[in-house]
């Protein structure tokens, strides 16, 4: 059935052939190393291949954007990483970047300009919406989502931090899924608990973990799928579902995975 050969060109290969990609796919650390999120990276790359988008990745030349260091108060490590990334990006003359990580997105878009790195940065939720609107991605050939209850968990760094609430929802609507909202959504969305460096340490003493609070709310909607658009949210929501022993009835997927499923990729 599927006769696409998936290509993942690097910027170095492109540059060697004197080519420029339409867009650079910024994979991010989770997308590169985290076993669960690697699946999202692969799903997104498959979508780009199928849509015929001329893209490239940095491969081993990519470094962390520095977001976790900066949020945890370590400005020095952040700027060291940011500066070397900017050197690499500028060396290749990168103009446009797409990333599946809202933290990378926020840092590249809002914080690199002051350090001299100016790029057009798009989150993959917006990019997927564009591809769907332009007809480059067609929701056909795969799983049907008709009547499937999906709830979308807003990532703080996409939503409140950058005002992107509608793009991920449009993508889910394009799947023809039954979108149900949690009590706290959009501007009122509750954090998964991983931002601001929390991903990398134990939480402070309290009476509950934040991801449990959030997953309870997601389960309350009766949705069988929790859609996320952030690697940290993915970890937190997946852990929360496991904690509630609901992993058989409630699945956590990234937007790109859902689109890839619908395309039969």
């Amino acid at each position: 059935m599927n006769e696409i050969t998936y290509k993942v060109p690097t910027m170095a290969e492109m540059a060697a052939n004197n080519e420029m990609p339409e867009v650079l796919f910024w994979v991010g650390c989770a997308g590169s190393f985290d076993d669960r999120y690697k699946k999202v990276t692969i799903a997104f790359v498959k979508i780009l291949n199928k849509a015929g988008v001329k893209f490239a990745v940095l491969g081993t030349e990519e470094s962390c954007t520095g977001d976790p260091a900066r949020r945890a108060g370590n400005e020095f490590t952040f700027q060291m990483l940011a500066m070397s990334n900017i050197q690499v990006l500028d060396m290749y003359g990168v103009k446009k970047i797409v990333t599946a990580c809202p933290h990378c997105f926020n840092t590249l878009k809002n914080e690199y300009p002051e350090l001299g790195g100016n790029y057009e940065v798009i989150h993959h939720s917006e990019y997927l919406q564009q591809l769907i609107n332009e007809g480059r991605v067609r929701i056909e050939g795969g799983e049907t989502f008709k009547g499937r209850k999906i709830t979308f968990h807003d990532s703080c760094y996409l939503g409140r931090a950058n005002g992107i609430y509608e793009a991920p929802r449009h993508v889910l609507e394009a799947l023809d899924a039954d979108l149900v909202e949690m009590k706290r959504c959009k501007t009122k969305g509750l954090c998964c608990g991983a931002g601001g460096g929390q991903m990398f340490k134990e939480p402070e003493t309290g009476k509950k973990d934040i991801n449990i609070e959030r997953v309870e709310e997601a389960i309350e909607t009766g949705a069988t799928t929790i859609a996320v658009a952030c690697p940290f949210c993915m970890v937190m929501m997946t852990d929360g579902v496991k904690n509630k022993e609901k992993e058989d009835s409630v699945k956590v997927f990234d937007l790109a995975e859902l689109v890839a499923q619908a395309e039969g990729l």
Partner: protein, 449 residues
């Protein structure tokens, strides 16, 4: 007799003006202790934000019912000031209802309209008081939120009771006044009945002229002295937002909430380390002076806008009610961050007052003595507190500056964060993976057909 009243009134007006001026100067001076930060760009956008958020109270209507009630009190306060102007002029000039002869029947309409507002304020303040004391709205309860213990709780109730009492005074004053008018009492200009106070007239029906005059004068003085007291009180209270909400929204940040401010001192250092700038040529003059401190330890390390935020805070607790850390029982409360910052400023202000306007080190600092590391560490930087604030206060900005101090200046990071920093420094990833393996994910795909 009238002249004595005028003199007393003018003296009180002068004292009140002087007290408010003194307080305002002190508040201004403590705000200016903060770091410089330019917030004067895009004036048109800033003005529009102020009109929308402060004047139009847009964010209060996120909760429509509360929004309407708050608007009633706000509009009442704003418009009743026109009547207060008349009262003050009456007091200075020794007149009674100065505007009445010029406005004729429109005056009666105007005062009736003010009475309508007064009833609105009275009823709403009663409901607010019930919400605080009987319905026990969670975010106001000190049993759940330690920062509300004592004074902040009391402050909230005092303000509401103040407003209720002032409204009762003005309504009964109008009622006594109209009864006196009907008696044909000499000094009481005929205005006719007012919309609401006419129903209070039966209260005074059996009173004689002298006792009515005494009551009317008492209510008049009580009301205006109450307003004066309130005006001074406000400068010591969380209620200061009635003034500061306007500049605070005007100077609010206009950049995306996700953006953290850059530290240019570090940029210089990093550029030298990466060989992007030559250290010897860059190091002319005072450019290379290492900053006294990284991040913020005390209020003077914060920006003046952070400090204005602290004085503007009404302690409504919408931020804390939305904070994921607080919801799940952690010590962090964004409202407490703002209240602690203000408490620190007030302490510094008092210190300055007794030391001829200069701050004498008291061995304390915001970080450590007011705010603990545990609070600062619990923040997920989710921006829910920033999103919630009806007057665009930004607690997150303060939290992050305190964190920078703790991590960079005191080098006191949790072990897990230090490990993360080390991974970033050596592997360019927060986890312990080799940079050479970063592209391994594609292998499977490159072989897949």
């Amino acid at each position: 007799m009238v002249i004595i009243q005028q003199i007393i009134f003018l003296a009180i007006l002068g004292i009140v003006g002087w007290l408010i001026f003194k307080r305002a100067s002190l508040i201004r001076n403590t705000i200016l202790l903060g770091r410089d930060e330019d917030r004067t760009d895009q004036p048109a956008m800033r003005f529009a934000t102020m009109l929308r958020v402060a004047f139009g109270q847009k964010k209060m209507f996120d909760r429509p019912l509360i929004g309407v009630m708050h608007f009633v009190v706000y509009a009442g306060f704003l418009l009743i000031n026109i009547e207060v102007l008349e009262i003050v002029l009456d007091g200075i000039l020794g007149k009674h209802r100065l505007f009445a002869p010029f406005l004729g029947s429109f005056y009666t309409f105007l005062i009736s309209f003010f009475e309508f507002l007064a009833i609105g304020v009275l009823v709403t303040c009663l409901i607010f008081l019930i919400r605080r004391t009987i319905l026990k709205v969670e975010r106001f309860q000190s049993s759940r939120h330690r920062e509300m213990n004592g004074w902040p709780q009391l402050d909230g109730k005092i303000i509401l009771i103040f407003e209720i009492v002032l409204m009762v005074a003005i309504l009964t004053m109008n009622a006594a006044d109209t009864v006196l008018q009907e008696m044909g009492s000499q000094h009481y200009i005929r205005t006719g009945d007012f919309a609401f106070s006419q129903f209070l007239k039966p209260l005074f029906a059996s009173w004689n002229e002298t006792s009515l005059m005494i009551y009317e004068r008492f209510a008049w003085w009580f009301h205006i002295l109450g307003i004066f007291t309130f005006a001074v009180y406000v400068t010591y209270s969380k209620h200061l937002h009635i003034a500061l909400a306007f500049p605070n929204t005007y100077f609010a940040r206009l950049i995306p909430k996700g953006e953290m401010k850059n530290m240019p001192d570090i940029t210089k250092e990093v550029k030298i380390m990466l060989g992007l700038t030559d250290a010897t040529t860059a190091g002319t003059g005072d450019e290379n002076v290492i900053p006294e401190r990284f991040g913020a330890k005390d209020v003077p390390d914060l920006s003046w806008k952070n400090l204005m935020d602290a004085y503007s805070c009404t302690e409504c607790g919408r931020c804390t009610a939305a904070c994921p850390a607080n919801i799940t029982g952690k010590k962090l409360s964004p409202r407490k961050i703002m209240m602690d910052t203000r408490d620190r400023l007030e302490d510094i202000g008092r210190n300055m007052q007794v030391n001829n306007g200069k701050f004498v080190d008291d061995g304390k600092s915001l970080m450590g003595d007011y705010i603990s590391n545990e609070e600062i560490l619990a923040c997920t930087t989710c921006n829910a507190c920033v999103q919630e604030c009806p007057i665009l206060i930004n607690p997150l900005d303060i939290i992050l500056q305190l964190r920078r101090y703790k991590i960079m200046d005191e080098a006191q990071a949790p072990a897990a964060w230090n490990a993360m920093f080390q991974n970033l420094d050596t592997n360019q990833a927060p986890w312990k993976f080799s940079p050479g393996d970063r592209f391994n994910w594609a292998e499977k795909l490159r072989n897949e057909v």
